[in-house]
């Protein structure tokens, strides 16, 4: 016990100056969850393969599981808790995830929303393929990514002040049936 190493880490978490005495063996995930109670930071693999623990550090998105807590010194960190407004208002990306049914079990959702928030710079429009690449560090087993993509795209157009292009005329989700035959 006596040779355990601790270090005082000062950083900014969700806009607030914070300090914590951490065991130097801690990951940033450990620090955020255990010291600051930010349980939106989820553990899915602990080796940087699933993205559930992703947080924004100084403007870039990182997997906090493979980021040592001591490296957070002086850094500005945003977790999902930092996206909502002071009265619990949802940010645009969170609202889009709700509205587009992009959440199922919810375990990958914090990482996805933070990544999307980070990726979507105001006014920048990406192609679907570009967006898919930018989100590719997050695994989801529930949604097939379809509604996540839709929520992210919707927010992207919102941030650009543009209408999301309407998809071409297609067969409705629930296909009408008349006299036992589909109406197409």
């Amino acid at each position: 016990m006596e040779d355990r190493q601790y270090k005082m880490v000062h950083c900014y978490v969700n806009g607030k100056e914070r300090a914590a005495m951490v065991d130097v063996r801690s990951s940033l995930t450990d620090m955020l969850r255990n010291e600051f109670g930010l349980t939106s930071v989820k553990k899915g693999c602990e080796v940087g393969e699933c993205g559930a623990c992703a947080v924004i550090i100084d403007g870039d998105c990182y997997d906090s599981c493979i980021y040592l807590a001591v490296w957070a010194e002086g850094k500005h960190i945003t977790t999902l808790e930092g996206l909502e407004g002071p009265n619990g208002e949802l940010s645009d990306i969170q609202q889009a995830f709700v509205d587009e049914t992009a959440i199922q079990c919810g375990f990958c959702s914090p990482g996805f929303m933070l990544e999307a928030h980070h990726v979507l710079k105001p006014g920048v429009i990406y192609t679907d393929d570009e967006l898919r690449k930018k989100l590719s560090g997050h695994l989801c087993r529930c949604t097939g990514y379809e509604n996540i993509m839709r929520a992210v795209k919707k927010t992207m157009y919102q941030r650009a002040g543009m209408e999301m292009p309407v998809e071409e005329d297609r067969i409705p989700l629930s296909v009408p049936i008349e006299d036992g035959k589909v109406v197409l």
Binding site: M1, R25, N34, L38, T39, S40, K42, K43, G44, E46, V47, E49, C50, T79, L80, E81, L90, Q94, Q95, F97, V98, T101, I103, Q104, C105, G106, F107, C108, S109, P110, M113, D129, L131, R132, K133, L135, S136, H138, L139, C140, R141, C142, T143, G144, Y145, E146, N147, I148, M149, R170, I171, P172, L173, S174, V175, I177, G180, K181, V182, L184
Partner: protein, 760 residues
């Protein structure tokens, strides 16, 4: 009415803000950490265990070994219990084992104050083994002289069942028949819920409490009782929100071990948080099943006689066992009805990870085999794939003799019509004829068929409780769990409409607690809206009746001229609002002379079942020299009856399709042939689809309401996985002329097959 509306999930806000509490979020800081010591051999016996070095690690509280555990054997399958011993699951598990049956089997448990101490100590536990040879393949395991994995099963066959119809041997003598024969093989794959399995236990007032990431709290309670040899009432299981399950958590995984652990440290809280690697190796997997099919058909494709043999790889322990193979086999004579059929299925122990329930429960495997075989018949006879299916699939009015399930609507044709139109199928088939060159395109399809729930094989029961609050809102509880699929939201919609109250006044109690939640067997078998729908409807209707009776005291109106609409007691005869439900609840509860706490509880025994149907269309581009398939388009058309919440239903289909795409193209558990060690036990080496591996997932529904269902619904969650792999396979066949007979259709397989065919 809110049924049929795409309302946001009831848990959406909390999940969108990250407030939702999962098991780990509920652990107290003083909780001990338990780490399992896993065997470093694939098969054999632990002769001795030396824990002395491990015990010296500072922070270690206790080291328990396979020689310390209670003597009880228990089953783990998330099946309802049967009081008939012949129908009970195989009890072959111990909390820890000295007979190692898979590489990584559980031989000891370290309990420590923190995770690093626990991990260090677990590494220092030394075991001496008597090693035995391993076997990974089901048919190898059945051979004379193969290693025996369970003493009770000398040839490793857990179960062998057969079905016979007509006379196969006589029927094949008909002149002019064409024989089509094929082998179809599927791999072991894992659920990969993003939250690994986790549970935590402690003791309270002499009882064991376990919080667990499970789909089946009431079943887990029974299994913990059985495993520890204690009365079931001594166990309380709490299920918070869970980060996905997909069937893996339809098993008692480590709740029994964790429950025992807390009893060994004086009831102190203990957490058992599996790593991703352990989730791969030590939880459950989808059964790898090999199929051999022979069909004798006439030139028009009509089936004269068919034979199916299948070997299902159970892995090291029985878990759900033969149920999976039985379900797959049961589907064979039904999908393409035929008068002369012989089926045999074997479920066989091997040294692989334990196979259990996984989304689709045998049907993704079966769909691959049956729909690839259908296409092989089509190719051999030179028929049109869709016309073949129109002609030979089960007809409208088909009734299964066993389950009494019926095909009520012309769903197969309807769904294929949608696919043809959406994909411009016939134009594409023409366009892709006779391609040459390195890069070729193809289009293919497959149908699917799926049973809802588990009747008549097992008990189907669901209980629902409703409690009226003073403000007119209602708590609803059922035992069919929310596991991410959106069940709670669907229940709220059903309750709102049946009871006549606004959607926002329905509070579904999501977290389940076996001390509190009415009995229900959990989330599996795509049973939630069907079975819970029945108890919700029963309960809501009875509740309304009771409320209206009590309302008589205040309104003086007879119940039969009253109703509850939009949260008000109304007089139906003229539509007048008599009082609000909230006023009624308050008056009734606080009435000093005759107080009523308005609640209702009902249990539905379900004695029916329903078929879901549909199809999948896929279009691919195959890069032959690079042995690579690019999925250009994929679409599922699904008839799950009436949609309670179309947006959530769409999400279910998309998720299933995604799992189907992984099954088709990339997912496979790879075992070292010598040691039986799982080589790709992580999310880097196990190839789950990423955002970059999917095209847009296209979904359509056909709302042919299920007549047997309380709300017109039937299976939704699992079936979408089933048709994807065969549709993609048939598209690759269309593109290249190569029939693939194995999953996944990854570059390894394509390299082998393209090379054999001289394409590269």
């Amino acid at each position: 009415m809110v049924i049929g509306k795409s309302l946001p999930r009831v848990d959406a806000y909390d999940k969108a803000t990250g407030r939702t509490k999962y098991t780990e979020d509920l652990c107290t800081p003083n909780t001990y950490v338990a780490r399992i010591v896993h065997a470093t051999i694939g098969h054999g016996y632990v002769k001795s265990i030396d824990t002395s070095e491990a015990e010296k690690v500072p922070g270690v509280v206790k080291v328990l070994t396979c020689f310390d555990t209670p003597p009880y054997k228990y089953p783990t399958a998330g099946h309802p219990w049967s009081t008939d011993p012949a129908h009970q699951d195989v009890a072959d598990r111990s909390l820890l084992t000295s007979h190692v049956r898979l590489f990584g089997d559980d031989i000891a448990l370290v309990i420590a104050e923190d995770d690093v101490s626990a991990t260090q100590a677990a590494r220092l536990v030394r075991a001496e083994y008597e090693e035995l040879p391993v076997v990974l393949d089901a048919r190898e395991a059945m051979k004379e002289g193969a290693p025996v994995i369970h003493e009770k099963y000398p040839n490793n066959v857990l179960s062998h069942t057969s079905s016979r119809k007509g006379n196969y041997e006589e029927a094949i003598k008909e002149p002019g028949l064409i024989k089509v024969e094929g082998w179809y093989d599927t791999p072991s794959v894992q659920h990969c819920h993003i939250e690994n399995f986790i549970c935590t236990s402690y003791m309270e007032n002499g009882r064991i409490v376990v919080l667990s990431s499970t789909q089946i709290p009431h079943i887990v309670r029974r299994v913990v009782g059985q495993a520890l040899g204690i009365p079931w009432g001594k166990v309380r299981i709490i299920k918070p929100y869970i980060g996905g399950g997909f069937g893996d958590k339809q098993d008692a995984l480590y709740e029994p071990l964790c429950a025992w652990a807390t009893t060994q440290v004086g009831g102190h809280p203990v957490k058992l948080d599996l790593s991703r690697e352990e989730t791969f190796t030590n939880c459950r997997v989808r059964h790898a099943i090999l199929f051999h099919i022979i069909s004798y058909v006439r030139p028009d494709g009509s089936m004269v006689a068919r034979k199916l043999e299948m070997w299902s790889n159970q892995g090291a322990y029985a878990s759900h066992g033969h149920s999976i193979a039985a379900k797959a086999m049961g589907a064979f004579p039904q999908l393409y009805p035929c008068d002369n059929v012989e089926c045999d299925s074997y479920t066989v122990f091997t040294n692989r990870s334990v196979a259990g329930a996984m989304r689709g429960y045998g049907m993704p495997q079966a769909s691959f085999a049956y729909e690839c075989h259908a296409e092989d018949i089509v190719m051999k006879l030179g028929l049109d794939p869709i016309q073949f299916r129109r002609d030979h699939l089960m007809p409208v009015g088909y009734v299964d003799g066993f389950s009494k399930n019926e095909l009520y609507s012309d769903t197969f044709n309807q769904s294929m019509d949608v696919g043809i139109k959406a994909f411009d199928y016939y134009k594409k088939r023409d366009l892709y004829r006779n391609q040459t060159g390195d890069i070729r395109r193809g289009i293919g399809m497959s149908v699917f068929w799926y049973n809802t729930a588990v009747f008549p094989i097992s008990l189907e029961t669901s209980s629902c409780r409703m409690v009226l609050n003073q403000d007119g809102s209602v708590q609803v509880q059922v035992g069919e769990t929310e596991i991410g699929q959106g069940a709670d939201t669907a229940y709220a919609q059903m309750t709102a409409d049946t009871l006549g109250i606004p959607f926002e006044n329905v509070h579904v109690v999501s977290n389940q607690d076996t001390d509190v939640t009415p009995y229900g067997t959990g989330a599996y078998a795509s049973r939630q809206t069907y079975t819970a729908g029945m108890s919700i409807r029963m309960c809501a209707e009875a509740f309304k009746e009771r409320i209206l009776k009590v309302a008589f005291d205040y309104t003086r109106m007879q119940p039969y001229i009253c109703d509850i609409v939009d949260g008000n007691i109304i007089r139906v005869t003229d539509g007048r609002v008599l009082m609000t439900l909230g006023d009624l609840a308050t008056e009734a509860l606080y009435n000093p002379k005759d107080s009523h706490h308005l609640t209702m509880e009902k249990t539905a025994t379900i004695r029916s079942n329903a078929y879901s149907f549909g199809c999948c269309f896929a279009e691919v581009e195959v890069d032959i020299p690079l042995c690579h398939v690019k999925l250009l388009r994929v679409m599922n058309v699904h008839d799950c009856g009436r949609l309670i919440n179309p947006a959530l239903a769409e999400g279910q289909v998309e998720g299933g399709m995604s799992m189907g795409i992984g099954y088709a193209l990339s997912e496979k558990m790879i075992y070292d042939q010598k040691t039986a060690r799982l080589l790709n036990n992580n999310l880097l080496d196990y190839k789950l689809s990423t955002t970059m591996d999917h095209p847009k997932l296209e979904v359509h529904f056909l709302e042919n309401e299920e007549p047997t269902s309380a709300f017109g619904t039937k299976a939704l969650g699992e079936p979408p996985v089933c048709p994807v792999a065969p549709a993609i396979r048939n598209a690759i066949l269309n593109a290249t002329g190569i029939s693939l007979h194995e999953l996944p259709m990854d570059p390894h397989l394509l390299f082998r097959e393209f090379k054999a065919a001289g394409l590269i």
